[in-house]
Subunit: 382 residues, 2 copies
Amino acid sequence: MIGSDIGALFGTGIAVNNSIIKLIKRKGDCAMENVKVIIWGLGAMGGGIADMLLSKKGVDIAGAADMGQKVGTSMYDHIKTERGGRPEIIVSEAEEIIKPGAADIVILCTDSFTEKAFPKIKFIIEQGINCITSAEEMSYPGAKNPRLAEELDRTAAEHGVSILGTGINPGHIMDMLVLVMTGCMTDVKHILSRRVNSLSPFGKTVMEEQGIGISPEEFAERKKEGTMSGHVGFAESVGMMAEGLGLKVESFVQDMEPIITDTDRKSPHGFAAAGSCAGVAMTADASLEGGIKIRMEHPQQIEPEQAGISTGDYVKIEGSPSINLVNSPEVEGGLGTIAMCVNMIPQVINAEPGLHTMLTLPVPRAVMGDMRDRIKPSKKLV
Amino acid sequence: MIGSDIGALFGTGIAVNNSIIKLIKRKGDCAMENVKVIIWGLGAMGGGIADMLLSKKGVDIAGAADMGQKVGTSMYDHIKTERGGRPEIIVSEAEEIIKPGAADIVILCTDSFTEKAFPKIKFIIEQGINCITSAEEMSYPGAKNPRLAEELDRTAAEHGVSILGTGINPGHIMDMLVLVMTGCMTDVKHILSRRVNSLSPFGKTVMEEQGIGISPEEFAERKKEGTMSGHVGFAESVGMMAEGLGLKVESFVQDMEPIITDTDRKSPHGFAAAGSCAGVAMTADASLEGGIKIRMEHPQQIEPEQAGISTGDYVKIEGSPSINLVNSPEVEGGLGTIAMCVNMIPQVINAEPGLHTMLTLPVPRAVMGDMRDRIKPSKKLV
């Protein structure tokens, strides 16, 4: 399968110690067109994806879709990269630009929930175009919407294209990374997946969604009403880990508690007075077949340093051998999600048609060379 | 593609907070035969693989191959697990038991080098059986033996089976894990992959191979002669990372230095007097296209704690965002390699025929349920 790649990187073999590996001609010296990507949703994620794509080789932004006042404006008005000498990209309604043959893939960054993303994803794949979405629930849609997931899988297969939901979390740091570490274990007994992150880099919308600065009473009321968004993804992460290990989920409980601050905390876009909420601590506990437990902990807050809390990603797995992994500080959520959506483009284009998860595709890794080098010619759509 | 799995784990959907996920019937409630594995080589790795397989569901050891005095003895004489009521497995010559239809996969644990493993792997795949090998160089055989790799790829494809070389290192902790972390990065500038491990758990062979207790002069002589084995795998790890990032290797240099101990160090199977070698420090430096550097550091020694050295696996990646990952203590090499060889069985059986690497298969994870649940029925050989 990889015969054509093998030997390419090291020429005709290397001798250790002071050897120089011969350069070889690029695999992608063929006439393949650049990978064409349409971005749907130019918020923080979609905009960041545009910036990242503009820094990469062998890939073009074939269009940008949004709605309301953004339609008709320049994409460059909504991202960090300056247009410079690049061709103009005018933001359009999705239906105007997402048409058969318009792109190899659409990256959809408009929603968190499968139900809301569903009609958009269905529309994309019905045009015969692959889809990656940052919608958290779509990282493992079988957890909450198995029927929609089945419909998406069937429709994608019918149209010969693939779908993946991914991001930093769910999608990488609290679930796939855990599974990757179980790969070198002969037995697994207990999983603790903990992500302690700072909300300080985020904007006003996130401050409101996460209840920054609200009173404990308001938190309790909003929690009861279901208007505290907290973290979306524990059910998906647990589902992915259970499937990854090959075990059924026997129970799943999640909860959220306010993080009440002792002192005033101020971030660029948020403020929490002493006694108010500086964030939300989400937890989940799951039991799998065979008595294996999964504990998820995800406290998100502004200015954790002010409370002496160091941020980080923690994977502790009891088993044989045990794992005690720390990435500190945590992978920044925004950049991490942007990177995952872009870096998985080749895997999704190359995939067997249908609905995928991070479990069914080759391992993620940064696209640093020409993106075309990774695309199977038979899978290139346009 | 995964439609049949979706919804299976969570039944018909879950409600958050105190919900219990309904149990569903196992996917593997079909009449699929257990996965059949032949182990070739009953040393520390092959023996450990036998022990691990005997603890798993839906998989049988269909045979054990070795040579010399082990032939004709019971497999259980060479592993930790007691036979108990299990059927006897008599160790045979490889050619006697590795025949068409004898197994779904052979796990080959006899060699470190591609040239030595090559005829054995070729023999296995010519019988129409998949192959996983712990041979370090086979984790990325294109690095040193591109022509043999191409021949293996072609032969495997002709016989409709797959090959993978894997282990803890190369195969996971110093290369694939690095790539997985770059998956959440928009840009990569510098990679440091460092594994500080203890040789204390290993036996006399490793003590001799790694020069434990020899003088600095003898080390220098053996290094010159090429009889200091050190770590086998840096060229392979660099090749895998370069291909993963999509960049060519422009230069590669590796070296080894003795770790001279200040005080006497004693491990169960080794002794290094003050002034002698307590281990080997391997390093490698590689430059990839675009000025990206990879630094590999792998000091291996007995009783590192006596010198105040804490063991661990370290991945530091400069880029956006930067990564600062530590797993401490290190994943034990023996168990890690055993686990990788067993846990990758489903991915290799399910794969597109040919020669694979950890880059071309779905992410590794522990097999905790029935192994048959992960096997595509169309890929089951026997």
